[in-house]
């Protein structure tokens, strides 16, 4: 029974991964691509690893997959935030139809 639940988790995670990469190809801007790809691929990979834990069981491989879930959930938002901040400070433009840019307003307020 837990094998079937694990396979369902793996299928959901594969769908999240594939649509995240489709957004990485299709969207028009650096920041749009970042916010489409990072969140959905992180959740999809965590779902695949949790399905692995449910199928394999509580031995060495399963506990290492839980450790890997915790590590990904801690590090992936940090990396995405660092890339977005670096890209904005390096001067990459937003999309033409973007509505608002709060980070540029904050930087003007500082100076």
């Amino acid at each position: 029974m837990s094998d079937i639940i694990g396979l369902v988790f793996i299928a959901v995670g594969l769908a999240f991964d594939f649509f995240g990469c489709l957004g990485l190809v299709r969207l028009p801007d650096v920041y749009n691509r970042l916010q489409a790809a990072t969140k959905s691929v992180t959740l999809g990979t965590c779902s695949i690893l949790f399905g692995t834990f449910l199928i394999v069981g509580a031995n060495a491989a399963g506990l290492k997959s839980l450790l890997c879930i915790i590590f990904i959930l801690l590090t992936s938002p940090v990396a995405a935030h660092a890339v977005a901040r670096g890209a904005h400070r390096a001067g990459f433009k937003l999309w033409d139809k973007s509505v608002i840019d709060r980070y540029a307003e904050d930087k003007e307020g500082e100076i």
Binding site: I10, D17, G20, T52, I55, A80, A82, A90
Partner: protein, 122 residues
């Protein structure tokens, strides 16, 4: 030009759906292992998603696109290692996944500092 792009997109989608449904090249996997019908299709979907990431790495207009695509590629390799752990039953594939996660995180931080234009010791 737009018609050519629509045609290429339709060809790519038909190839993806056909490879998921038919599951060709059975000699690429271990044939007598549990859940090979589901996990073989899972490997195909992950490989095609990694191909989309590599398209963005090669064709990206700016440097930040390439850095984002390499980060996403590194996260999806971990999922591939987990699928290999189930289908082969060998537990050292997930060790490769943990090591790849560490390496990918540090590489992304260093590349973002390089993108910002400062030194590494700041």
């Amino acid at each position: 030009m737009k018609i050519i792009r629509w045609f290429l997109g339709a060809v790519v989608l038909i190839v993806i759906i056909a490879m998921v449904v038919v599951r060709p090249f059975p000699f690429l996997f271990y044939p007598d292992l549990p859940y090979i019908g589901v996990l073989g299709r899972a490997m195909y979907i992950l490989v095609l998603a990694c191909a989309l990431c590599l398209y963005r790495v090669f064709m990206g207009p700016t440097g930040a696109d390439r850095i984002v695509a390499i980060d996403i590629f590194g996260i999806m390799i971990i999922g591939f290692c987990a699928v290999l752990t189930i289908s082969t039953g060998r537990s050292w594939y997930i060790d490769i996944g943990i090591a790849w996660a560490l390496q990918s995180f540090i590489a992304t931080l260093a590349l973002s500092k390089y993108l910002e234009g400062k030194g590494f010791d700041e």
